[in-house]
């Protein structure tokens, strides 16, 4: 049989029983639509996290005290067990590294903020003027902390948007005084609302100069040092240099952890990538179910078309011709169902995007190809058994059944 005749014959046979054809394509379509929609969801989650991370600041390297990674036992383990504190001097030393563009020390504590009679528990962050550039925040009003000696801070404060709304509901915040413990700070700026940040909510922060915060909390340690590398390529160098500088300052002991945004992102990427694969696997099960449905429908079709198959044999069709005809039919139906499912899946992803605009749910290319490919392969695979059965049918018995 010629290829064109085979396709025409299969299309004719498929349109001969519309309900059967529609059911089969529906099953395939649901499977492919599930793959496309669910992977769009997974990939959307990945993109979402990626975007949230890039909101923290670009080219960021973070230094935190203590080692969080298990390094096994080394001679240093017996000499000293308590890590040295991270200090403002450490942060200043990091600026010597050529790949470092900026560094911002960070110390954090909770305290009671009061304005007039209003009291509020709040997170007070001690930092420097560089912080706003490293984190890429924007000011809503006034200005950020002034550039001054890190060791000597003026009693000024920059507050988050939410904190402003709560402490100064009806008046302008700029120029007003906020009392923290026994100190008074003049509000010189309000940060623009950033929405939900990762981790702490920046809209509720009160920022003061680092030296003032350390004095207030009676400490000289830092919570973090945020380092901005000169560019993306310099991130790894910065990470290594930062570790070396701190190690040299801490008597040769590597007692800090340096993490990069990329490393964090890569971890999330792996996590969500695995999740997406898992979800795709679940969707693939529905494709397998669709495949079994294809097999059943084709088996019923073979049973219903017994006399036709017998006739084709009497007219000189070989077993392989009949097998090919049934396989082509299964493949065509699967392909048609897959295309419909692809369209449905895209529509599903579009609905998700319409409902949750922040969620970029687009199906990844590999999932689309895998979905369509798997549908076709499943259809063919599960079409083999019915096709073989048709090819093996005894023509005498098939023709006798009227």
């Amino acid at each position: 049989m010629r290829a064109r005749d085979l396709v025409a014959f299969a299309v004719g046979a498929a349109s001969g029983n519309r309900l059967r054809t529609a059911l089969l394509m529906l099953a395939m379509a649901i499977g492919v639509a599930a793959v496309v929609t669910l992977t769009a969801l997974g990939d959307g989650a990945r993109r979402y996290v990626e975007r949230e991370f890039s909101a923290i600041g670009s080219n960021l390297v973070i230094v935190l005290p203590g080692r969080t990674e298990t390094g096994g036992i080394n001679p240093g383990s017996f000499v000293s067990t308590t890590p040295r504190d991270l200090t403002v001097d450490d942060a200043r030393a990091l600026l010597r590294a050529p790949s470092v563009l900026r560094a911002a020390p960070l110390t954090v504590g909770t305290s009671e903020l009061s304005v007039g009679g209003r009291l509020r528990e709040g997170m007070v962050v001690g930092t420097t003027a560089e912080f706003i550039e490293v984190r890429q925040f924007k000011m809503a009003q006034g200005q950020f902390l002034p550039r001054e000696d890190w060791g000597r801070g003026s009693p000024v404060m920059v507050i988050g948007a939410k904190l402003r709304a709560e402490l100064f509901p009806n008046e302008t915040a700029l120029g007003q005084f906020v009392r923290v413990g026994d100190r008074r700070f003049r509000v010189i700026g309000v940060l623009a609302a950033t929405g939900s940040g990762l981790g702490m909510n920046t809209d509720e922060l009160a920022l003061v100069p680092v030296s003032v915060a350390q004095a207030m909390f009676n400490t000289n340690t830092l919570f973090r040092i945020l380092v901005e590398a000169r560019n993306r390529d310099a991130i790894e160098v910065t990470k290594r240099q930062a570790a070396e500088i701190i190690k040299a300052r801490h008597d040769g002991e590597e007692d800090v952890t340096v993490i990069t945004q990329d490393a964090l992102l890569a971890t999330f990427d792996r996590l969500i990538g695995t999740l997406t694969l898992g979800v795709a696997g679940i969707a693939a099960i529905s494709l397998a179910v669709a495949g079994i449905l294809v097999m059943n429908v084709m088996l019923v079709s073979v049973a219903q078309r017994r006399s036709e198959i017998g006739l084709l044999k009497a007219l000189g069709a070989s077993g392989s011709t009949i097998r090919t005809a049934f396989l082509v039919e299964a493949a065509l139906l699967s392909a048609a169902g897959a295309v419909i499912g692809y369209a449905l899946g895209l529509a599903g992803a579009a609905v998700i995007r319409a409902l949750y605009p922040v969620f970029p749910a687009y199906p990844p290319d590999w999932a689309v190809l895998a979905g369509l490919g798997t549908a076709l392969a499943t259809g063919m695979l599960f079409g083999v058994l019915p096709a073989r059965r048709a090819a093996r049918l005894d023509p005498v018995a098939a023709l006798a059944k009227r």
Binding site: M1, R2, R4, D5, F9, G12, A13, S15, G16, S307, E308, G310, L311, L312, K313, A314, L315, G316, A317, S318, G319, S320, T321, P395, V396, L399, R402
Partner: protein, 245 residues
């Protein structure tokens, strides 16, 4: 003048001790019990006998739809019993035409498409198919029915489509199983005349029937009973072929 070797050499179909056994549970049925038969090209044979006499099985074996359990079947001098299934399909496609009692037209295909089906299966190009189908439609008086589906055709028209389909590959023999069984007398007569005209043009015609009137029209009649040939007579000639078998 009919020497035995000469008739063997000229035979189109030669069956030697053909056996076909069916097992139904514990019982064994000899549908064909050692059939010997020689058919020359262009013969017109009626195979007759009661139900279960094995005449349909004989037809299936002759048409290569069924394999005998023993014996040899030579078609045009070639042993076809040992051929593979695909080779047998090729022989069916090019040498054998079937006409069934219940027509066996594909319901979703038009008359023209049904007639073209054997050519589609044989991989003949569409242009040649159209040419031959149009000729066949004209020849069988179906020109105005080409685009009708089987359920839009009368019984006689359906059987004419089936005969057109059976002859479209220009086979050497036509095997007809009760070709008038589903038709009224007048239509049946019309169909038989059509088949006989084809036989007149040189195609070997073998009709299986239990209708004595139909059998009487054939030049040679073979009677079967319990899987064996009980009578083999050629009209006019008077010489019984089974004498030399």
């Amino acid at each position: 003048m009919a020497a035995v070797p000469a008739s063997v050499a000229a035979a189109q179909i030669e069956l030697d001790r053909i056996e076909r056994v069916f097992r139904l549970g514990d019982s064994v049925v000899h549908a064909l019990a050692g059939i010997d038969l020689r058919i020359s090209p262009g013969e017109y044979i009626a195979v007759m006998g009661p139900s279960g006499s094995g005449k349909s099985t004989l037809l299936n074996v002759l048409g290569l739809l069924d394999r005998p359990d023993a014996g040899t079947y030579r078609l045009e001098g070639r042993d076809v019993t040992t051929l593979s299934a695909d080779e047998q399909a090729r022989v069916r496609s090019h040498r054998i035409g079937f006409v069934f009692q219940s027509f066996h037209l594909v319901p979703r295909l038009t008359a023209a498409e049904n007639i073209a089906l054997p050519m589609v299966l044989a991989g003949i190009p569409a242009r040649e198919r159209d040419l031959r189908v149009r000729k066949a439609l004209d020849g069988f008086g179906l020109a105005d029915r080409a685009e009708h589906r089987p359920d839009q055709l009368s019984g006689g028209q359906r059987q004419r489509v089936a005969i057109a389909r059976a002859t479209i590959m220009q086979p050497a023999m036509l095997l007809a199983d009760e070709p008038t069984g589903n038709l009224d007398r007048a239509t049946g007569e019309e169909v038989m005349r059509l088949l006989e005209a084809l036989n007149g043009a040189g195609v070997t015609l073998l009709v299986v029937t239990h209708d004595a009137a139909l059998g009487a029209r054939a030049h040679r009649r073979v009677m079967m009973q319990d899987g064996a040939i009980t009578l083999d007579e050629t009209r006019g000639a008077g010489a019984a072929e089974d004498a030399c078998a």
